[in-house]
Symmetry: C2
């Protein structure tokens, strides 16, 4: 089956790379699906970061799903943002606004000299500025960590979204219809009991970088 075309509702699709990147750069967690040697689906949720034309994930060298992916098993990496519930005039006409992507391919484990830099990139993507605030990872820590990369290649991904108001009814109705946006934000930092330090700029920056209201739902 074709993996880069949508068989249903192709008008919801996009092959625009900046549109894909915008989703990948707005989310922190995806799901990594692969197939076990005995043909079973295998999936793990995982933190990720886009680095140019690739998606990076990391984990312990003991993580089974990553070892399977690093061995060359085909993977499908899924990222999804739920932006709003769409309340139609019927339940059938109700829906959700979302952005989603599935990237396919095979992953490669980065060699040690590239893994260190990639881990810094991952850390700074999750908590911008944090790498400069703490000591570098040491050899023992790096040896315990594997970093895998999935190329974002033309034709290897699909993007799909719904970003619209509730559809106009094709019948007489008194029912309300509209959107209920889903808003995700960072709460107040909670210091661990072992620290007396001030909350660092990286953590303060997370709270400052709240999603803008108009990013999360469609306005008609």
């Amino acid at each position: 089956m074709p993996i880069d075309r949508l068989s249903r509702m192709p008008e919801r699709g996009s092959s625009d790379r900046p549109t894909l990147d915008s989703l990948l750069d707005s989310e922190l967690v995806g799901t990594l699906s692969t197939v076990s040697p005995d043909g079973e689906p295998w999936v793990v949720p995982i933190l990720f970061a886009r680095d140019g034309d690739r998606v990076l994930v990391h984990g312990s060298t003991g993580a089974g799903a990553l070892r399977l992916a690093a061995s060359g098993a085909p993977v499908a990496f899924c990222v999804m943002a739920l932006d709003a519930l769409v309340i139609g005039h019927t339940t059938f006409a109700s829906s959700a606004n979302y952005r989603s992507a599935v990237l396919r391919g095979t992953m490669t484990r980065l060699p040690a000299d590239e893994a260190s830099e990639a881990l810094d990139l991952l850390s700074d993507r999750l908590i911008p500025g944090r790498v400069a605030e703490v000591r570098p990872s040491n050899a023992r820590e790096l040896a315990a960590t594997q970093v895998l990369a999935l190329p974002i290649a033309p034709g290897s991904w699909i993007y799909k979204e719904r970003r619209a108001q509730a559809s106009s009814p094709d019948e007489q109705t008194d029912a309300w219809g509209g959107l209920v946006p889903r808003v995700t934000s960072w709460g107040v930092p909670e210091p661990a009991p072992w620290t007396d330090a001030d909350v660092p700029p990286s953590v303060l920056g997370l709270a400052a970088d709240q999603p803008r209201r108009d990013d999360t739902a469609f306005r008609q």
Copy 2:
């Protein structure tokens, strides 16, 4: 490989069914992974609802991934909630607080007489009270929709979470450590241009049912 045991960090796992149900009942979206006839991983994000000892999903009768699942292909259904970023004294000691589950099995498509009731349950799970506010689905709408069920059977699922403060450093450090909670809430409803109706109780109820602050992160 065993599918109901965690090979890594088993202390993060739980075989407690209420713990699983609590996660399933707090989230709206999961990812449905399966394996295509040619052995490739296939994944779609999808709205879902727990109904007792099963997970329900629905979609168009044309949806390929659902047709594949309905044909008896093995599936893995993944649900994940990101609750907080965990800021350690190093990037290596940093982590995330999360709750996650993977349910495995095969899905069955519900017969027409059960599908209608299941669709109402799905709708009322997403927007509690909405079903009573609108007309019932008609025969044409029901015929265009498939509903699939995945049993939640003992031994067929794994649950894993991290719900803790940043680990205490095993070295001298001046670095800050703590949690940054991830908070998800519903925004202000946005009426569609075609409606003059008042915002209904079901939609008002979503805003009233905001996550409590202490649900979203661990307090030490």
